[in-house]
């Protein structure tokens, strides 16, 4: 055992590169799953199917960027889905019932998302609450507010102008997907290239040591919670634009999938490691597998089983590779 692992380390094999760089590993998995899907289904690579996957990935992808940023800090926000839903519904009411121009409604809804995220962050930092437990509570409040506002009925008559943001294409690429890519680029710049990003990783690693270095830990937590609320609101808005109606069910699937995607992509729930890019790769893997299930006409009831199994497989692989690394002494 030890002789061939050290040999592998001296002349890095493909396997050891994959295992050493978690991002390379999840990217390789994405490529393999993509290629396998293209091989087993003739419909997979069609332009229409690709745009379906990209459009679907856009919404959950935005929430994934938000959640993975919080996870790097060592926090979780289970209310991101209902923030998205609530902001979507409120934007619908502003546009349809209040008759505001859609541009104004978008700004107000994004502002509401920031406010709701800020409230979560404020309660976490000011009272020292555990974010996971707190946001189970606030998810209930925000989700309840959706039902109070809509009485469970979708708001129809969303203006045509905004629908381009959800349904449109630019050069054949769905607009929401492009928006998600822009947000991803900004998030990557922030996390990898700015002091703010370094502070996020530092806090996720060791919050006490971060304070000792003079990092304003609470301020950064608040900022990221606020930013995460805004991105969830953006996802909700784009979903409203896509559907042409503000459905009270928007956001219901954005709670666990982004966490699963982030974990697959190498972001630890304990904080301090990973990147939003890995999380988006993880979301891509889930999206492709869900797509294949549909293409094969498998009952959608099986989707939960399959995506759950992927998470279990991914984290098992991660744990095994880490054990391999430890034995290597790296």
């Amino acid at each position: 055992m030890s002789t061939d692992t050290t040999a592998a380390a001296r002349a890095p094999s493909v396997l050891s590169i994959l295992i050493r760089n978690p991002l390379a590993g999840v990217f390789a998995a994405l490529v393999v799953i993509f290629a396998a899907s293209a091989l087993i289904s003739p419909y997979f690579l069609t332009a229409y199917n690709m745009s379906v996957i990209a459009r679907g990935l856009a919404f959950v992808g935005l929430v994934t960027i938000a959640q993975s940023s919080l996870m790097i800090l060592g926090e979780l926000d289970l209310s991101l889905g209902t923030i998205g839903g609530l902001c979507g519904v409120v934007s619908g009411m502003l546009m349809v019932q209040a008759g505001l121009p859609w541009g104004v409604a978008v700004i107000l809804a994004l502002g509401l998302g920031m406010l709701l995220g800020f409230v979560n962050g404020f309660l976490v930092t000011a009272l020292g609450l555990h974010s996971l437990v707190l946001t189970i509570g606030t998810a209930g409040i925000y989700g309840g507010a959706i039902l109070v506002l809509t009485k469970g009925v979708a708001i129809t008559g969303i203006p045509q102008g905004i629908q381009f943001l959800g349904r449109g294409d630019v050069l054949g690429i769905p607009v929401p997907f492009l928006i998600m890519l822009v947000v991803l680029a900004v998030a990557l710049f922030l996390t990898l290239k700015t002091p703010m990003g370094r502070y996020m990783y530092a806090i996720g690693n060791n919050a006490a040591a971060a304070r000792m270095l003079g990092i304003r830990v609470d301020r950064i937590r608040l900022l990221v919670f606020t930013f995460a609320g805004m991105l969830s609101a953006l996802a909700g808005l784009l979903m409203v634009a896509r559907l042409g109606t503000a459905q009270p069910s928007i956001g219901q699937t954005w709670v666990l999938a982004p966490i699963a995607a982030a974990v697959i992509g190498g972001v630890a729930t304990t904080g301090g490691v990973g990147s939003p890019l890995g999380a988006i790769f993880g979301a891509g893997i889930i999206a492709i597998i869900e797509n294949i299930i549909v293409l094969f006409g498998v009952s959608p009831y099986w989707q939960g089983v399959v995506s759950g199994a992927i998470v279990v497989l991914a984290i098992s692989f991660d744990a095994l590779s880490r054990r391999y690394l430890r034995r290597d002494g790296a």
Binding site: S2, T6, A9, R10, F189, K193, T194, P195, R198, Y199, Y201, A202, N205, N206, A208, A209, A210, R211, M212, L213, G214, I215, R216, G272, V273, D328, G329, A330
Partner: protein, 509 residues
């Protein structure tokens, strides 16, 4: 015949040989000192001896048999790590018998019987606690002894490996631990004692083995070697242990004034820090020194009083303002307050120079690499490369990275809290030299230390604390150790005065 024997052990990691050609023999009834600087390979060796890592080459024998063929033999080797590894919110008795596979009660834990059995161990190890006490509420030396007691609940245990068991203890507590270790040692047991501290080596050791850079450089009977020879073996060069590191700059104006400051664990503290001096703080563990400094730094809340720096009021309760204003605190808790374990050495050091390396286009990675490389070179940090995870470095190298990181900024006031805890002699001297140079550059330096030698070698003035109050202010050059120790134990100055005897006073030198 030796009970535990290693022949030609070697351990390779990618790109590094951590151990090479190690021979070791541990005899029952004796205390074997394992000495060596940080990164000498002591931890790797201990991991192999306890079965948690495997050698690349060579063999070990326990009681004449190969433990790789009979893994049960590893149960005869017990290891007590340097860091406390107890469950703080669980009772003393439960900690002792965790995971309850040695108590012989079948699958059910019988609290009464367990606590009765625990009492035997507490008596034997002289631990001042009730079996039902939570570990959180017992003293640090008692916790240290509890760890040793826990290892000895293993009936098969023959060899007990203690990894720097005294690093968190004061001289008086060390004596207590030593007494118990000596009582524990009999013809059926052996102790392997890992230590940097010379006085301990000569006090408790029978045999010794010195490692340097992964190789065995010397071994023999402690009675046949003297201190300079042992230090030479460990460091590979002559180190003047009596050298002084006091600042030669004339002490001038006040840089910081603390007035009537109160907070958790200390009360109504006033003192001045002058430019160019190293101000020592002596006291027992729990005297309130760390709490005081963390409050001045803003990490803890002050309840009353004020601090002025260069005649300006200092903002309390705000570490970010302190760092921005040029005050840094280097904690003794490297693991909890110092390193970011999952980040690389580069990122760990880079964190404090972000203001220099980042602009409108974000962090300039090239510039960062350059600055970090300089810190690594200046502070002689040994690592496979700047990309290596900091948690994979040895304790001494982590400490050098933390100090180097702090120096990369331009501090006005630096507070060192036990900066040489768990650090080898050569690195210690380097740290002293850094403190001296900084003081001579006009930085105000506070040094908290439990080692009287260290304070007397570095500090120009020593304040003693006891029970959260300052009990004395001494000129380091003109006061003797006896007086200082008296002030630390607050003898003759109140009802809580602790008795002091000559043996202890003698030990603190």
């Amino acid at each position: 015949m030796a009970y535990l024997e290693a022949r030609g052990l070697g351990r390779d990691f990618p790109g590094v040989t951590a151990l090479d050609e190690i021979d070791l023999s541990i005899e029952l009834g004796r205390t074997h000192i394992l000495a060596g600087e940080n990164g000498a390979g002591k931890s790797t060796l201990v991991k192999i001896l306890t079965g948690s890592d495997r050698a690349t080459r060579g063999s070990i024998a326990i009681d004449g048999h190969d433990p790789l063929e009979q893994p049960d033999l590893f149960r005869n080797i017990a290891y007590v790590p340097q860091e406390l590894s107890l469950f703080a919110d669980v009772s003393v008795a439960e900690n002792l018998f965790m995971p309850f596979d040695r108590t012989g009660h079948g699958g059910i834990v019988n609290r009464r019987r367990m606590e009765a059995e625990a009492q035997n161990y507490l008596d034997r190890f002289g631990i001042d606690a009730k079996p039902s006490d939570l570990v959180r509420h017992i003293s640090v030396p008692d916790q240290q002894l509890l760890q040793i007691a826990r290892a000895s609940t293993n009936q098969d245990m023959k060899v007990l490996i203690l990894d720097e068991p005294t690093s968190a203890l004061t001289a008086r507590e060390v004596q207590r631990v030593f007494k118990i270790i000596r009582g524990f040692l009999d013809r059926d047991h052996a102790i392997v004692f890992i230590s940097h501290k010379m006085e301990e080596v000569f006090e408790i050791g029978d045999d010794y083995t010195v490692l340097r850079n992964g190789k065995k450089v010397d071994a023999g009977r402690v009675a046949e070697i003297d201190e300079p020879a042992l230090i030479r073996a460990m460091s590979g060069r002559e180190v003047a242990i009596d050298e002084h590191f006091r600042s030669n700059r004339p002490v001038t104006d006040r840089i910081m004034t603390v007035e009537n400051l109160s907070g958790h664990m200390f009360d109504n503290i006033s003192f001045d820090l002058k430019r160019g001096e190293i101000l020592g703080f002596a006291g027992l563990v729990g005297a309130g020194r760390s709490e005081l400094m963390q409050t001045i730094f803003g990490f803890r809340k002050a309840t009353a009083g004020r601090v002025q720096v260069e005649e300006q009021d200092w903002r309390l309760n705000d570490t970010a303002a302190s760092v921005a204003g040029g005050m840094l605190y280097l904690s003794e808790e490297r693991k909890h307050h110092g390193i970011f374990p999952l980040l690389s050495l580069r990122e760990n050091i880079g964190l404090s120079v972000l203001s220099l390396t980042s602009g409108a286009a974000g962090i300039d990675f090239g510039k960062e690499r350059g600055l970090v490389r300089r810190v690594i070179e200046d502070y002689d940090i040994k690592a496979a490369g700047p990309g290596q995870r900091i948690s994979n470095l040895s304790g001494g190298n982590q400490q050098k990275a933390i100090i180097g990181r702090a120096m990369a900024t331009t501090p006005r006031i630096l507070i060192f809290d036990e900066p040489t805890k768990g650090i080898d002699i050569r690195t210690k001297a380097e740290i002293y030299r850094i403190m001296k140079e900084l003081a001579e550059d006009g930085v105000g330096i506070i040094l908290i230390s439990s080692e009287m030698t260290e304070l007397r070698r570095c500090a120009s003035r020593i304040l003693t604390m006891h029970g959260g109050r300052i009990t004395g202010d001494f000129d380091a050059a003109s006061s003797d150790t006896e007086t200082l120790v008296g002030a630390i134990f607050a003898t003759g100055s109140g009802a809580d005065a602790a008795p002091r005897n000559d043996a202890e006073a003698h030990h603190v030198h």
